[in-house]
C-alpha cells in the first residue's frame, strides 16, 4: 500500500498528532491513533450522577413492555390478558420455557430464521455498499434520477404489490422456498441509501490519491472506502438482520411447509381460530429477542468506537 495514500488518509482522519501540544501529549511526533467521533467526557461527578438518573428514567419507559412480555411468558394462558394487568405472575410457570421446544419445533424455526437473516444481511450489505459506490463516487448521466426512483419505491407499501409479486414467484416455481424470500429482500434500496450517505462523507482526495497510486475503482472500493465505512456497514448489518428476523408477512405468504417456517410464523401458530396460548406466544417472543440482543451487544462497538481507522494499515 502506497505511503502517499495512507499518509493522506491518516492525516485527514486525525490520526497524526503533530507537535508536542497534541491532546495525547506525545511529544516525539510519533503517529498516534486518535479515535474519530466527538465524544464528550463528563468531568464533574454531579453531572455524571445526573446523567445516570436521566438514563434510568429513560430505561423504565423503554423497558416496560418488555417487562410485560417477560412476566407474561411465565404465566398460565388465562392469566396473561387479565384486566387489570398483573405485573407479577401469581405462579411462576417456568415450565413454559422448556415446554415450548416440544409444543412447536422452536429450534428448527430459530435455525430457519437465522439462515434467512444471515444470508439476506450478507447480500444486502455486499450489494448495497457496492451499488452505493456507484451512486456516490462515480458520476454518470441519470445517476441522481435513478437514485431518486430507487428511494421512492421504498414508499410503496408491500400490500400494494404483494399479489403481483407472488404471482411472479409462483410462475417461477419459487414459492415455498427460502430462495424466494432471499431474492425479494436482499436487493433493497435501504442498504444502498444508507451506504451512499456514508460514502459521501469520505473525502474524494482519498480515492484520487489511490487512483494516482494505480488502483482502479473496484480496488478503491475494496481497499479504501469499505474499510473506512465500518460504522455504516455495522449499522446496516444490524438493522437488516433485525428487520429480517422480525419479518412476518413475507415468510408467511411464501413458506407453506412447516419445516421452513421461521420464528415469527411459529409464534403466531399459537393463535388459534377462537383461542390463543398467550403465555406461549410471549415465551417464544422472549426467546426470539435473545439473538438480536447478542448481536447488538457484540456489534455495537463497531458503530460506536469507530475502529474505522484501524483498517488502513492492512
Amino acid at each position: 500500500m502506497s505511503t502517499l495514500t495512507s499518509d493522506l488518509s491518516s492525516e485527514i482522519n486525525g490520526d497524526i498528532e503533530l507537535g508536542a501540544g497534541g491532546a495525547n501529549g506525545s511529544g516525539d511526533g510519533r503517529r498516534v491513533i486518535a479515535p474519530r467521533g466527538g465524544r464528550r467526557r463528563i468531568r464533574s461527578r454531579v453531572g455524571r450522577i445526573l446523567m445516570y438518573v436521566v438514563l434510568s428514567v429513560l430505561l423504565a419507559v423503554v423497558l416496560l413492555p418488555f417487562i410485560w412480555m417477560l412476566s407474561s411468558s411465565l404465566k398460565h394462558d388465562a392469566e396473561v390478558l387479565t384486566v387489570p394487568i398483573q405485573w407479577i405472575p401469581q405462579t411462576f410457570v417456568w415450565s413454559n420455557y422448556s415446554q415450548i421446544w416440544q409444543q412447536v419445533p422452536m429450534a428448527g424455526y430459530l435455525m430457519n430464521s437465522a439462515i434467512l437473516a444471515v444470508v439476506i444481511t450478507f447480500l444486502q450489505v455486499l450489494t448495497g455498499s457496492f451499488a452505493a459506490y456507484g451512486f456516490s463516487k462515480v458520476r454518470f448521466p441519470g445517476r441522481d434520477a435513478l437514485f431518486l426512483a430507487y428511494i421512492a419505491t421504498i414508499a410503496v407499501p408491500w400490500q400494494a404489490y404483494m399479489i403481483p409479486q407472488y404471482i411472479m414467484m409462483q410462475n417461477a416455481g419459487l414459492t415455498n422456498t427460502f430462495t424466494a424470500l432471499i431474492l425479494l429482500q436482499a436487493f433493497g434500496a435501504f442498504g444502498v441509501f444508507l451506504m451512499r450517505q456514508y460514502y459521501v462523507t469520505i473525502p474524494d482526495e482519498l480515492s484520487e490519491a489511490a487512483r494516482i497510486d494505480g488502483l482502479n475503482d473496484y480496488g478503491i472500493w475494496a481497499r479504501i472506502i469499505l474499510p473506512l465505512s465500518k460504522p455504516a456497514l455495522a449499522s446496516l448489518a444490524l438493522l437488516t438482520f433485525v428487520n429480517t428476523w422480525n419479518d412476518y408477512m413475507g415468510p408467511f405468504i411464501y413458506l407453506s411447509s412447516n419445516s421452513l417456517w421461521t420464528v415469527q410464523i411459529g409464534l403466531r401458530s399459537f393463535i388459534g381460530q377462537y383461542s390463543a396460548q398467550y403465555a406461549m406466544i410471549m415465551t417464544g417472543s422472549v426467546i426470539s429477542i435473545i439473538p438480536i440482543l447478542v448481536i447488538f451487544l457484540a456489534g455495537q462497538r463497531y458503530f460506536i468506537r469507530g475502529i474505522a481507522t484501524s483498517g488502513m494499515k492492512g
Binding site: 419507559v61 410503496v156 431474492l183 441509501f193 451487544l297
Partner: protein
C-alpha cells in the same frame, strides 16, 4: 474555521474529482471515452443490486401501478377501467380520512423521532460506565413484540386507570384526553407510541454518522474558543448532514406507509380516527377484493411520497451549495 468549512464542503460534495492532468488534455474523443468509461464503471457497480431490485421489486410495483387503471378482483381476468378508480378516489370519504390521517401522522412522527433520535445519539455517544447497556435498552422498543407494545401502551393510555392520565390529573389537568378511546386523541397516542418505538432504530443511524466526524474538527473548534453548544451547532450538525438527510427521508417514507403498529394498537379506530392509507389499501385490496382500486390508492401514495422526497432532495442540494 474556514479551513474546516472548506474541508467539510469538499468532503460532502459529490464531485468525482477529475484528475487534474487528464482534463487539460485536448481531444473530444478522449473526453467521450472517459465519459463512456464512467458510465460503464458506474453501472457495473450498481448492476448487482439493481438487477435484483428491478426484477423482484420494480416489476411488481409497476404491475401494481398498471392495475390502478383496471378493475381486478385478484382472481379473474382484469378489465380496463381507465380513470374510473381515480374518480372514485376523489369522492371516497374513507380515502379523504385516511389521507388526512396519514399526513397528520407523518407531520407528528417525523420531526419528533428525528429530534429524539439525534438527542439520544448525542447522549449515548460518550464514555460512561455501562453506557452500552443503555444503548441496547433504547433499542428494545424496536424489537419488542408489537402485541406487547400495544397492550402496555394502551394500558398506559387508559383514560380512567392509566398512569398517563393519573399523572396529568396530578399536575392539575382535569379534563385529560381519552387517548385511544377518543377520536381526537387516538392519532396523537399512536404517534407517541411509534416515536417511542422508532427512536432506537434511528439512533443507531445517527450514532454511525457521528463516528464519521473527525476528532480534529472539534479540536480546531476548541482552539477557536467554541463552547459546547457552538461545537454542536458549527461542527456536529453540519457534519451530520448526510446522515440527517438519510434519517429524514427514511422517516418520511416509512411514516407515509405506516401500518403494523397502528393496526395492532387501534385497528384504525375508534371508527376511522387512525385509519391510514396502508390499511385502506389492505382493506380494499385484499379483504374487499377490489385490487384495481387499492392499486390506485397506492399510486397516489407513491406520487405524494415522491413529491416529498424530491423536495427534500432539492433542499439538501441547495444547502450544499
Amino acid at each position: 474555521m474556514t479551513t474546516i468549512a472548506e474541508r467539510r464542503n469538499a468532503a460532502q460534495h459529490d464531485s468525482p474529482g477529475q484528475p487534474g492532468a487528464a482534463s487539460n488534455r485536448p481531444g473530444r474523443s478522449k473526453a467521450r471515452a472517459l465519459r463512456r468509461r464512467r458510465i460503464l464503471v458506474g453501472w457495473s457497480f450498481i448492476l448487482p443490486n439493481f438487477l435484483g431490485f428491478a426484477l423482484f421489486t420494480l416489476v411488481p410495483v409497476i404491475a401494481a401501478f398498471v392495475l390502478a387503471f383496471m378493475h381486478w378482483d385478484a382472481y379473474n381476468a382484469p378489465t380496463w377501467a381507465g380513470i374510473d378508480n381515480f374518480t372514485r378516489l376523489i369522492g371516497d370519504d374513507s380515502f379523504h380520512v385516511a389521507l388526512a390521517n396519514t399526513c397528520l401522522y407523518a407531520l407528528g412522527h417525523v420531526p419528533l423521532t428525528l429530534a429524539i433520535a439525534l438527542g439520544l445519539a448525542l447522549l449515548l455517544n460518550q464514555k460512561l460506565r455501562g453506557i452500552a447497556f443503555f444503548r441496547v435498552a433504547i433499542f428494545f422498543p424496536y424489537i419488542t413484540s408489537l402485541v406487547a407494545v400495544a397492550i402496555v401502551w394502551n394500558m398506559l393510555f387508559n383514560p380512567t386507570t392509566g398512569p398517563v392520565n393519573q399523572f396529568l390529573h396530578l399536575i392539575g389537568i382535569a379534563d385529560a384526553p381519552g387517548w385511544t378511546a377518543s377520536t381526537t386523541w387516538a392519532l396523537p397516542a399512536v404517534i407517541i407510541t411509534s416515536v417511542w418505538r422508532d427512536m432506537g432504530y434511528y439512533m443507531v443511524l445517527f450514532l454511525a454518522g457521528l463516528q464519521a466526524i473527525p476528532h480534529e474538527y472539534y479540536e480546531a473548534a476548541e482552539v477557536d474558543g467554541a463552547g459546547r453548544w457552538q461545537k454542536f451547532w458549527n461542527v456536529t450538525l453540519p457534519s451530520l448532514r448526510p446522515t440527517t438527510f438519510l434519517v429524514l427521508v427514511l422517516l418520511s417514507v416509512s411514516s407515509f406507509k405506516v401500518f403494523d403498529l397502528i393496526f395492532v394498537m387501534t385497528q384504525g379506530g375508534p371508527g376511522r380516527a387512525t385509519l391510514v392509507l396502508s390499511q385502506l389499501i389492505y382493506q380494499d385490496g385484499i379483504i374487499n377484493g377490489q385490487f384495481g382500486y387499492s392499486s390506485a390508492i397506492s399510486l397516489v401514495l407513491f406520487v405524494i411520497v415522491l413529491i416529498v422526497t424530491v423536495f427534500q432532495f432539492k433542499l439538501q442540494q441547495r444547502r450544499e451549495r
